[in-house]
Symmetry: C3
Subunit: 358 residues, 3 copies
């Protein structure tokens, strides 16, 4: 389904800022593989405190983050050959959540265990499944993300904590027109070109795709820092929304040197992965990676792109948290929509339908 | 009406520390003119988040501090020739709250506007009107404050945020006897002289005036730092309470050289303006300026007086916030009154009558 | 009553982390004598804000920490020859809570007084009595603690604030098996030896005694830092729980040189006093002293032992606060018991009986 912008300009009352539940029966990002080193990672996901670690068999394990003895977070403990030792009285748990040792005590009672969560590691991302009570076992595998594994790109990433509900991050990512005002110093550049660029929006039951081309435009600072453009560029922004994550692929070629929709187009590429996982109803985890095709020195190029990306995402975090704090100050109040909201509003409808089952 | 101290010494139960509403139909201080520079000022006043800026016509404007599009505080935005650009998607608002530009979109819908507040600038102070629903248009002009404009004084000021309800600041300002214990290092000096000084209290429906003279007393540190007194001084303290602000004029002449109530008395003058504006029921803004008559070097004298004033007001803030925190710890409990509370209690009666319309 | 470990291994549901009240009719520690110097000490004890100071007669006084005039904490004030001057308007109170001076006012009304609490100083500890409404007068004296007064030991101590309810501190102190996991760097040492050591538990209506001997074991870092052991040691841990405090006496002699239960055993001694006083239902004060028998240089030995003790208690605080935060995250949920919980569970039963009068 593709819709013209004009048809969207009937101004509606936007959904009120209440976020009672999350879509379940979904794979959410729980961690970047790069986080799982010599210490367990403790993190609240969809309201549930979880401890994540690489178990003895090399696979990632996720347990309830609470020792069944005296409730210390297991993430305060230590890893011993892929098993997790509680930092208070030393109970030892394996990747299935079973207590396998109680120091100083021979018998291990059957109740000595902690709940376990379904997790999968794929393409350097760790995914966790939160199902409905009648659907606790995943009915599908987590999505692949070949950009991390193909060898064509260098990438790095990080995890940001947001004092804002996850859908405000969706809104932000679905609408790159804010680049013109929020990200002047990095990937933004000419505000008017962003706002006036033609935007194509497509969606189905579970995804939204927003594509925007900005032809013959001045390349923004991040781009010129990373790639030897000759002058103006033809620039693309392709956003693909999924319930638990977005793929935002942007880039540019020298103006008039390639078709925008050519899958083999050359030039400079930034391929962003954005896992947006609710922590609670009002706070979120934002797992991101940024990949790029290195022209010459891969490590230097990666460092440059990541540095710029961090600057950009810090700006977003600041704006979104200020936005949410203001929504809390003012309470439920009508908002107006403008042309750039089309994609974000479609994403909200998908979430709404999944939340309410309607 | 003037009352002897003796008649006030029937100890009453003081009003409980509950502050449900504020007197409306009043001009409150919203900002010092000196704050309005190249950035919008965001501030919650009487529970309402407001953004204040100097508009294209040179006059001060105050809007609801929330973009009607996605609720970002407009105070996070930037000023463009007296208009306010939202820092998220770039909507541009004028001083009347009307959206005059939506980047990338030709049609500006009539709903694209934010509420506007009545403000006036007078004598270097910015005043805002909060009226009852049936009285949103001011029925008077804000008070003048000639001290800022006459050219006879040098002055400076600042805004303090208080974690305490506004009436506790009134109490503090209405009773300068606390100078003897709180402000030993600055404007205080001999505690006993402060407490024993004769105090005259007058009031009407909307003002309270407390006057106290301390004859032939040792000048406090701030005074001797700023003025070449020969020895002991005759000292005056004149406090005038209005619902939204106080004028506290203090000073001294060399002992026995002038009548205390001579309007042309010489000596050293400190003319304090104190705008006390509720932020919420439990927090406040305290806008103050301090003016003095410079004997020789105006800038050096001003710097000296302001430095001392800041020390003094920091001490007050510390005491009042500790007092309020303790009131919260203990909850509603009786207090006893002493002789110095006469003025403050009259001010509370005025506020009470205006709040309850009784 | 002495019970074998085996009999305790029926796993029960542990009491839920709700702490509605405290046992009353008890002496609780309010301060260390060493805290009472030239400033009043303000501290909330069992939910009641108290100001503590040494009064004119040399005895310790404790008043409600709220001036009866304008509710400033009296602990913000200053001491004048054993009387307490309020830091706002200068009202002066004696150790009986009576206002003895109102600056600038001759008559002191009879209502000008603040409530007083029963306190006693004994063996360098200040105790306060919180009684039931029908039992506000103490029916006994606070316990002695001869270790502070006998001259045989050097000691020092401190007060820690805990964001955790007091009974979690009891649990921690009653079970020294956590030394093996929490205190590896200081008094801990070999975890397995701690967990496997035989433990004897005795209790009556108001005390629990846990004794554990670890024979022929490697001395932990703190011990070797303070005493010239020749090699392995015989080590004892004697814990005595009382409702408001614990005595934990530990130490060691060279292996096989003394009977463990010989009251005149030599070697290295650490005698810990642990006053655990609820601040609120969810926070606590932890008053501790550590005494040791100096072998040669008393001051250097004391400094060494105190330094190690502080490291240890910092580790405990970190674990217990993390435990409580996690209990709050998870809410009421069953816990399982292991063999080391015997002593702590008996202590909880005593508290429970005293709280509920059952």
């Amino acid at each position: 389904m593709s819709t013209s912008i004009a048809a969207q300009l009937a101004y509606e009352i936007a959904p009120a800022p209440s976020f009672p539940t999350f879509p379940l029966n979904q794979w959410y990002v729980a961690a970047l593989s790069s986080e799982l080193k010599d210490k367990p990672v403790g993190r609240t996901l969809l309201g549930k405190p979880v401890v994540i670690f690489r178990a003895a068999n090399g696979q990632v394990a996720a347990l309830e983050d609470r020792c069944c003895h005296r409730a210390l977070p297991l993430s305060n403990g230590t890893l011993e050959e892929g098993r997790l030792r509680c930092g208070y009285h030393g109970l030892l748990f394996n990747g299935e959540g079973k207590c396998v040792e109680i120091p100083g005590q021979d018998k291990i009672p059957s109740k000595a265990k902690v709940p376990v969560y379904q997790v999968r590691e794929r393409d350097h991302l760790v995914w966790i499944w939160f199902g409905n009570p009648d659907n606790l076992v995943p009915n599908c595998e987590p999505p692949e993300y070949d950009v991390h594994s193909s060898g064509k790109y260098v990438f790095d990433g990080s995890v940001y904590h947001y004092d804002a509900p996850y859908q405000l991050i969706h809104d932000n990512l679905m609408d790159l027109s804010h680049l013109g005002y929020v990200h002047l110093k990095t990937i933004g550049g000419n505000a008017r070109i962003h706002m006036n660029a033609e935007m194509k929006v497509e969606s189905d039951d579970s995804t939204v795709r927003v594509v925007r081309y900005m032809l013959d435009s001045v390349p923004p600072p991040t781009y010129t820092a990373a790639y030897p453009f000759k002058g103006n560029v033809d620039r693309w922004q392709e956003i693909e929304f999924h319930v638990s994550h977005l793929r935002i692929w942007t880039g540019a070629v020298d103006a008039n040197t390639s078709a925008m929709d050519d899958p083999n187009r050359g030039g400079f590429h930034m391929r962003g992965f954005h896992g947006v996982t609710p922590e609670t109803e009002t706070t979120s985890h934002y797992f991101w990676t940024m990949a790029t095709n290195p022209i010459s020195d891969p490590e230097a190029t990666k460092a440059k792109v990541i540095e710029q990306t961090i600057l950009t995402f810090d700006e977003d975090k600041q704006v979104i948290e200020a936005q949410y704090a203001n929504m809390c100050r003012f309470g439920e109040r009508p908002l107006i929509d403008i042309h750039v909201d089309v994609g974000a509003n479609r994403a909200r409808k998908i979430i709404e339908r999944l939340r309410t089952g309607d």
